[in-house]
């Protein structure tokens, strides 16, 4: 992995097409490997009423026949199948996986162990509070830690993911205005924002007004002043923004928003850039959602589960989702009696297993350790930026925090696009960064190394990126045909969307 490529990998891998079928190279679907009579579990005996025909327990019309197409496999078959599939994934444990805005950091394994302790894993969400004091104490401890980290007054651990935390946050803004009999129509969102921001604002009943970022990639205060009227409920801001640039006028921004009676919403997706260094509450942020799978190391899992706690200033606390965890005289309890609450966003109390992991991480780092997270993440991003400057175009030259956005402007003249660069990176043994986002930058390559990457990995990544820049100039077709060394070659996404095949069918076999 750390080895570098002085000569580019050859486009044709000799003999690849004639390699004997190795399971992980071209695995069948598990439905295709099924053989009648195999079974992967040992089930308990049916019980005391074995002989009763099913139809006496349930009317015939409510029953279904055996499901054709369901596979029959032994435990061994299943373990082989999924182990083979796993070998067709790249993983952050192999090298850089620098998806910008995703914070693909190392996921501590002690967290996995802890979330599986039987007292946590086997506790039912509807048990009496007296029997789950450990869980409630854990929620309380996590809330306290997150209050400290965010500088905000209360935190709800209820939302299932960042997008739901965001929805909860902007709903609370809606509820706060409703409570005082006010109706505001708009939410301001910069053009560099995550797509979930406008989607969440829309579902909370607001219309979105987009703010254009200036040449530094930040908000223009005069533009904001003009747009911020008394019909604007909130400004939704990502700090640092998706260009990796910290809004250095954040205090003025807060003043302008508050001056018109609006709320400052902060998308906490990029908290990793400043955790332990400054606190959103001190910046004037009124409401903030966090992604525990970003800053707080709960595993991304191939796309979830996440968790999206939402933190608020005291003024918005009455509107938090139900239930909250409270500390009473007889111990901790869940509080459902919150008349101004926006209500529920999901069943039960939250992604509890993720909360265990996040608290374990925070305690493993400690207060000073969290600041070192931000320091190292920012150091790594700036080192990477320095190493790539002059090789790739930098659309904004503002100081970078935890991530840096380049684009394909220098390579485009040779007909090489961001997509080609991304695919070629796979041949060099890396996962590509986030591409074509933020949408305000044409052909963006958004790179976030995180703090959990060693210098030698950054060095080999920089060398690979430089080599690709050279290839773009000298052998553009090589780059455009990439990747060559991956389990499958470039995939036809257009064909997939034109005539979608979304499941296996026996006929298609």
């Amino acid at each position: 992995m750390a080895e570098t490529h002085d000569t580019p990998p050859v486009p044709e891998v000799p003999g690849l097409e004639h390699t004997p079928e190795i399971g992980w190279r071209n695995p069948k679907l598990l439905f295709e490997t099924s053989r009648p009579g195999r079974l992967g579990v040992q089930l308990p005996p049916i019980g005391t009423v074995d002989d009763t025909p099913l139809a006496t327990l349930l009317p015939e019309e409510l029953l279904r026949p055996a499901i054709d197409g369901m596979p029959e496999l032994s435990e061994v078959d299943v373990v082989r199948h999924f182990t083979r599939l796993s070998r067709r994934n790249y993983t952050p444990e192999l090298g850089l996986y620098p998806l910008g805005s995703c914070t693909m950091k190392y996921n501590p394994r002690i967290n996995e162990e802890a979330a599986r302790y039987p007292g946590f894993a086997n506790s039912h969400p509807l048990q009496p509070a007296s029997t789950v004091q450990g869980n409630l104490a854990l929620c309380w401890a996590l809330e306290e830690a997150l209050r400290e980290i965010t500088g905000l007054s209360r935190v709800s651990l209820h939302p299932a993911a960042g997008a739901q935390g965001e929805f909860a946050g902007i709903q609370m803004v809606q509820a706060a205005f409703a409570k005082r009999g006010e109706k505001r129509r708009y939410v301001l969102i910069p053009d560099s924002a995550h797509g979930t921001n406008p989607a969440s604002a829309h579902f909370a009943g607001f219309e979105v007004q987009e703010l254009l970022s200036n040449e530094h990639g930040t908000l223009d205060l005069e533009d904001l002043e003009r747009a911020m009227t008394e019909d604007v409920a909130a400004l939704m801001l990502t700090v640092p923004n998706t260009l990796g640039v910290f809004e250095n006028h954040i205090l003025e921004i807060a003043r302008i928003v508050h001056g018109k009676g609006g709320y400052l919403y902060c998308d906490g997706a990029n908290l990793n850039a400043f955790v332990g260094k400054v606190r959103p509450g001190d910046m004037g942020v009124d409401v903030l959602h966090l992604n525990l799978h970003k800053t707080f190391t709960t595993p991304h899992g191939g796309g979830g589960p996440g968790a999206g706690p939402v933190a608020v200033a005291a003024e918005l606390a009455p509107f938090l989702p139900v239930p909250t965890v409270e500390k009473g005289e007889d111990g901790f309890y869940l509080d459902f009696d919150r008349p101004d609450s926006i209500g529920r966003l999901r069943s039960f109390h939250g992604q509890f297993g993720m909360l265990v992991r996040a608290l374990a991480y925070i305690l493993a780092m400690g207060g000073r350790g969290l600041a070192r997270v931000a320091e190292t993440a920012v150091l790594n991003a700036n080192y990477l930026r320095k190493g790539l400057e002059g090789h790739y175009h930098l659309p904004h030259d503002s100081p970078a925090m935890h991530e840096v956005v380049f684009n394909d402007k220098s390579q485009a003249e040779f007909g090489v696009t961001t997509m080609d660069i991304a695919k070629r990176m796979m041949d060099y043994g890396f996962h590509p960064p986030t591409v074509y986002f933020p949408i305000s930058i044409s052909g963006a390559l958004m790179i976030e190394p995180t703090e959990t990457v060693a210098k030698e990995d950054l060095d080999s990544f920089i060398e690979a990126m430089r080599a690709i820049a050279r290839e773009a100039e000298t052998a553009p077709d090589l780059v455009k045909g990439a990747p060559y060394t991956t389990p499958v070659r470039r995939c036809d996404e257009v064909a997939a969307a034109r005539k979608p095949i979304l499941r296996w069918t026996p006929e298609a076999g």
Binding site: L39, T48, N107
Partner: protein
């Protein structure tokens, strides 16, 4: 540090040596700063306003070693009383205890599945993509509907997403009718999602003496402004509804039929939502290999008729070919999503529950065609037998309709008293219904799965018999 107290932050010592999660040491840092041309780390934070920069570390405990973390977190988990350790549990109501094969955790904790993200780059994510495709196939087979998505957060928000979807595809219809016998958390969640969408109205319909949807009342509510009717089966009282009777009246009025399943295992044995005429099926698949884990993370699912595939929220994996014509999988139909559509997106859902879906896929592969059905049968038989025995013990059934693995019993004495009596004897006897349904104050829910051993069932029956006077 006492074991069950939060570690005291004041005792935290800031150690400036290496930290086990940070592979950048002092020498690295010096070299890197030099390369950047910065004098110190603080130089890199110059854009942060001076006035608010923290002068002290945030006040949280640590750094703790793995051993200290174990000791603290064991201290917490041991304060819980849980089934299989100190208690017998008959709690269900949307979260069901089932045996989970060991290979699930062994496979899902492989780095290649655990620590990766959404498969945006298909060439290096075929493992995740194929597993999602297989999950979609399983959910399609179980629901009896041709397309299923890559998962949603959990059952309650899945219902909300289904209602919003029905409202989108039905265009000029503004009303969604939901059965009052749908899980109270699901209905509350739908209310939260719907309340700021001014032209979407949510109306509830009650149940009849058998515990099933009151068809007459439903027909009276249905009109040409109704986008959809949502019914849960088995419903929150454990009653198997039968999808067809509801789908028929819904379709007659031009409304869609949404089938909600809070106990996914039931689909192995009961008529599928698709066969019962449902246009959309949503629910909770926690039963497929996920621990009850105090309420999450769980696994929402959604399936629908083919014509709605472009209106589904959430991610979808699809089959295609690579440049050499080999079968490959990709995320597809992304134009529905917020990355492109922004405020016009079908949903704001982004991350879903991929690792939970993988666990379910492994669980379903292991059980397969024969095992899953047999397991469902075991649940049905144990629950039905227990229901009869409790009736004989003086706790009669509340609703005389068929059940699956959960049922409602009428208590001859105040429910809190009965449950407290059982709790004192190490039995979590059930979930009281009075809090959500004042009319059912005398009723509680009892769930029985394969995890409830025969001896446990005997004890429950015996304890209740002392209270039931039989």
């Amino acid at each position: 540090m006492t074991e069950t107290q939060t570690p005291d932050p004041k005792k935290a010592v800031a150690s400036e040596g290496g930290h086990r999660y940070l592979p950048i040491g002092e020498v690295d840092q010096r070299e890197m700063l030099e390369a950047i041309g910065a004098a110190s780390i603080e130089d890199l934070f110059a854009s942060l306003p001076e006035a608010i920069r923290l002068q002290q570390p945030v006040n949280v405990a640590g750094p703790l070693s793995d051993q200290e973390l174990r000791s603290y977190l064991h201290g917490l988990e041991e304060r819980n009383q849980v089934a299989g350790r100190n208690l017998s549990s008959f709690l269900g109501a949307g979260a069901y205890r089932h045996d989970s094969p060991a290979v699930i955790d062994s496979l899902i904790t492989r780095s290649e599945f655990l620590t990766v993200y959404t498969p945006y780059q298909p060439e290096v994510s075929q493992g995740t993509l194929q597993a999602i495709f297989e999950f979609q196939t399983f959910m399609s087979l179980l629901t009896g509907l041709p397309v299923a998505n890559a998962s949603l957060y959990e059952g309650a928000s899945a219902l909300a997403e289904a209602a919003l979807m029905a409202y989108r595809v039905q265009r000029k219809r503004h009303k969604v009718i939901v059965a009052g016998s749908i899980h109270p958390h699901y209905r509350a969640t739908l209310d939260t999602y719907a309340k700021n969408l001014e032209d979407l109205e949510v109306v509830e319909v009650g149940w009849d003496a058998t515990g099933r949807v009151d068809l007459e009342a439903l027909e009276a509510l249905l009109d040409d402004d109704t986008a959809a009717v949502a019914v849960q089966s088995p419903n929150h009282f454990g009653v198997v509804e039968g999808w067809s009777r509801v789908s028929e009246v819904a379709h007659k009025a031009g409304a869609l039929s949404i089938g909600v399943v809070a106990e996914a295992l039931s689909m192995a044995l009961l008529q599928s939502p698709g066969d019962g005429g449902c246009d959309i099926a949503v629910g909770e698949a926690q039963s497929f290999g996920l621990p009850v884990s105090f309420g999450g993370p769980y696994l929402g699912f959604m399936a629908a008729r083919d014509e709605y595939k472009r209106s589904l929220p959430g991610r979808l994996a699809g089959q295609t070919v690579d440049a050499l014509g080999k079968r490959a999988f990709v995320l597809t139909l992304a134009t529905r999503e917020q990355h492109i559509r922004r405020e016009k997106a079908t949903s704001n859902i982004c991350t879903n529950q991929a690792l939970c879906a993988l666990a379910a896929t492994i669980y379903l592969s292991l059980h397969g065609k024969v095992g899953l059905r047999r397991l469902a049968e075991i649940n049905l038989r144990r629950a039905t037998t227990t229901r009869r025995r409790l009736a004989e013990a003086g706790f009669p059934v509340r609703f005389d309709a068929p059940c699956f693995n959960e049922f409602a019993v009428r208590s001859p004495r105040p429910v809190p008293e009965v449950l407290a009596h059982l709790e004192a004897r190490g039995i979590l006897g059930g979930v009281p219904l009075g809090g959500d349904y004042p009319d059912l104050e005398d009723t509680f829910l009892v769930a029985v799965t394969e995890c409830n051993q025969p001896a446990e069932l005997d004890r429950l029956v015996a304890e209740l018999a002392t209270l039931g006077g039989k």
